[in-house]
C-alpha cells in the first residue's frame, strides 16, 4: 500500500519535472516577442513625437495601445491612422478624441534667423534633433527631419519660430 503511494508520488513528481523542464527549455528557445506588436503599431503612428497623446512619444503610445489604450489619441495621424490601427487590432474605428487636438495638414517650423538669439532652448525641446545651432549662434531647422510637433514653440523666448505648411517634396 505504502509502496503504491510512493510509486504514484514519485511517478507524478518525475512527470511534472519532465514537463517543467521541457517548458522551461521551450520558453528559452521561443522567447515571447511581445515587442513585435508594439513595433507594428509604432510603424503606423506618424512619428511626430509631438506628445499630444499625453505620452512621451510615439513608441510609448504604441506600447500603451498594445496594452489596451484607446487608439484615437493621435491628432497628427488623424482618421487614416485610426483606421489603420483599427484594422491591425481588429477594433472598431472611432473618431479622433479632440481633447488631444485636431488633425491638421503636415507642418514644419522655420526659425526667423534674424531674430534668433542663440539660446538653445528649442534645441533641447526638439524630440527629433531637427534643430542645429549652438550657444549665442543662430539656429536653424532641418526641414526634412522636422515633424511639425510644435514642441519648440513655447520655449522660444523671442518667438522667432514660425509654423508653415509642409511643401510636398
Amino acid at each position: 500500500m505504502t509502496a503504491n503511494i510512493l510509486i504514484a508520488i514519485f511517478t507524478f513528481a518525475l512527470l511534472a519535472l519532465l514537463l517543467g523542464s521541457a517548458l522551461c527549455f521551450a520558453a528559452k528557445r521561443l522567447k515571447g516577442d511581445r515587442n513585435a506588436l508594439v513595433e507594428q503599431i509604432n510603424a503606423i503612428l506618424p512619428q511626430t513625437q509631438c506628445g499630444q497623446c499625453d505620452y512621451a512619444g510615439c513608441r510609448p503610445y504604441a506600447a500603451a495601445i498594445a496594452q489596451g489604450e484607446a487608439i484615437n489619441k493621435c491628432p497628427p495621424g488623424g482618421e487614416a491612422t485610426i483606421q489603420a490601427l483599427a484594422n491591425l487590432l481588429e477594433q472598431e474605428a472611432v473618431p479622433l478624441n479632440t481633447e488631444h487636438g485636431t488633425h491638421e495638414a503636415p507642418q514644419v517650423v522655420i526659425i526667423r534667423e534674424d531674430d534668433c538669439i542663440g539660446c538653445t532652448l528649442c534645441i533641447q525641446a526638439c524630440p527629433v534633433d531637427a534643430i542645429v545651432g549652438t550657444a549665442k549662434q543662430m539656429h536653424t531647422v532641418i526641414t526634412d527631419a522636422c515633424t511639425g510637433c510644435k514642441l519648440c514653440l513655447p520655449p522660444c523666448p523671442v518667438d522667432c519660430i514660425d509654423l508653415t505648411q509642409r511643401v510636398a517634396a
Binding site: 507524478f12 512527470l15 514537463l19 517548458l23 521561443l30 506588436l37
Partner: protein
C-alpha cells in the same frame, strides 16, 4: 489504412465532439464572433488536441499501465494538457503576437476545454493503437475546427440579420448551434456501426 480513414471521418463528422458529444462548447460560444479569430483558435486547439493525443497515449501506455496507476489517469492527463497549452501559448506568442492578444483568455482556457480531456480519456476507452490515437486527435481537431469556423461564419451573418429582440445575442447563437447539431445528426447514417 481504411480503419484510420474511418476513425478520421467518424470523429470529424459522425461523432463530432462539439455538436454530437457536446464537448468544448465554451470556445465555440466565446471565440466565434469573427472568422479570422475562429481560424486561429481552431489551429491552436488542433495543435493542442493532436499533441495531447500523442502524449496521453505515451504516458498511459508506458507509464500508468505498467505501474498500475490507471486510477490517476485524469490527473496525469490534466497535467499533460496544461503543459501542452503552455507550449502552444509560447509558440503562438512568438509566431503571431496579434492573434495571441485577440484570443486572450481563451488561449489558456484551452486547458479546461473538455474536448481536450475528453479526447485523451476516450482514446484510452476506445483502446486505439498509437497511430489510431493520433488520427483520433486529428479527426477531433478537424471536427472542432469545422464547427467553429462554420459557426463563426454564421454568426457574422447573424449580426446583419433582423433578430427579434428577446433572441438577440447568446440566445440566437445557442439556437443556431442547436440547428447545426441537428444538421450534423444527418451524418449518423454515413457509417454503419
Amino acid at each position: 489504412m481504411s480503419d484510420y480513414l474511418l476513425i478520421l471521418i467518424a470523429t470529424a463528422l459522425v461523432n463530432n465532439f462539439v455538436l454530437v458529444k457536446f464537448l468544448g462548447l465554451c470556445p465555440i460560444m466565446g471565440v466565434s464572433k469573427k472568422v479570422d479569430t475562429a481560424v486561429g483558435m481552431s489551429l491552436a486547439t488542433a495543435f493542442v488536441l493532436t499533441l495531447t493525443a500523442i502524449m496521453s497515449y505515451l504516458v498511459n501506455t508506458y507509464l500508468l499501465i505498467p505501474l498500475g496507476l490507471e486510477y490517476l489517469r485524469i490527473i496525469a492527463f490534466i497535467l499533460l494538457i496544461a503543459g501542452v497549452v503552455q507550449l502552444t501559448e509560447m509558440v503562438l506568442n512568438k509566431t503571431n503576437p496579434l492573434l495571441y492578444q485577440v484570443l486572450g483568455i481563451y488561449l489558456p482556457l484551452i486547458t479546461s476545454n473538455c474536448a481536450v480531456l475528453g479526447l485523451a480519456l476516450l482514446n484510452v476507452q476506445a483502446q486505439h493503437s498509437f497511430i489510431g490515437a493520433i488520427v483520433y486527435g486529428l479527426g477531433t481537431a478537424a471536427g472542432f475546427g469545422l464547427v467553429l469556423i462554420l459557426f463563426a461564419a454564421l454568426r457574422e451573418r447573424l449580426v446583419a440579420a433582423d433578430v427579434p429582440l428577446p433572441f438577440r445575442g447568446s440566445a440566437i447563437a445557442l439556437v443556431t448551434v442547436g440547428l447545426m447539431a441537428l444538421a450534423f445528426m444527418g451524418f449518423a447514417g454515413l457509417i454503419k456501426g
